[in-house]
Symmetry: C2
Subunit: 213 residues, 2 copies
Amino acid sequence: MTKTAQMTIQAFLDALAARQSTPGGGGAAALAGAQAAALLSMVANFTLGNKKYAAVEAEMQGYLARSEALRQELLELVDRDAAAFDAVSACYAMPRGTEAEKAARTAALQEALQGAARVPLHTAEQCLAVLQLAEPLGSKGNANVVSDVATAVYLAVGALHSAIVNVNINLKFIRDQAFVEQFAARRDALLAEAAQAEAAAKAACRQTLGVDL
Amino acid sequence: MTKTAQMTIQAFLDALAARQSTPGGGGAAALAGAQAAALLSMVANFTLGNKKYAAVEAEMQGYLARSEALRQELLELVDRDAAAFDAVSACYAMPRGTEAEKAARTAALQEALQGAARVPLHTAEQCLAVLQLAEPLGSKGNANVVSDVATAVYLAVGALHSAIVNVNINLKFIRDQAFVEQFAARRDALLAEAAQAEAAAKAACRQTLGVDL
């Protein structure tokens, strides 16, 4: 189990609120994404074994396996986000007395910043996967709990954009322009896919529930 | 401490994913709102005691007191959401053998549904308060951590809309049309205020950071 998994909710929120950099926004985003994935698992669990949904039993098992894997991955990303940030902090503490030390510090810092951009981008990719999974669960899941798919969609969208904030703030300090441009292109493609997945998932929930949520 | 506060993150996510109605989407929304409030507290904590921000020390203390109160309230709302849902479930289990039993069951159920709509509306109101607090923290907080205000904004918006899903799904089953109309008007006013607060908070972060997040 990860470090975060073993913390109480109170201890995690206290750590988030404290004058310490980790856990921070990237970790909060990953945890919100894990909550969204867990809600999709709940909907799958309320569909499995229900006679009315026997026709989708097999595919629902597949959706549950996927949502549980995403939940686990997003929970692990809370710890990985803190580790990536701590690596950046460690570089700031490196000596810079000589020119050689300054060069070594800058190189290490630039490397660490790339890591600190990669982790929240990965978090955003997992949130996108949650959004993409919400569409089939919204259309085929137990209609009594499909409002929880809609809830998961809103949480995953919030988590995804929170993660992207942490991508952007790290990109700002990265000097390798080729890396920055390539990374920004991946981010923009991801945001476009997320907008599509969000719309498709909401349409599925609306169709199943007969109300706009 | 509340029941949820004492759970480990793993146990809470497991309960969210399980084939049981509570905790559900309303609780996940309240917890995400509490995370957003905690991030605002972190920004205030990184501003207090910093010489560069001495001029805003007193007002920052006020913002911290507010964000901490909102964090506590939102965490308590996770438990209250579950209690409101359990009250509805208890009504569904009431006997309906005689006309008198049916009438008593319907009356109790309608009462419980109003409670189950009130709790997520209250959650949404607290998320709105988080958004409103993000504007002064985004413009006056320690610029080194203002990206975490932007993160908090996205999480609070996701949490607010998730809570509203749970308002809407309960309103659907409430027969008292005067209650439904009055409640829907409150919801719509809240959503309009939230859109304004979100825009103002993002503009404040953008101004402080010099980048669009």
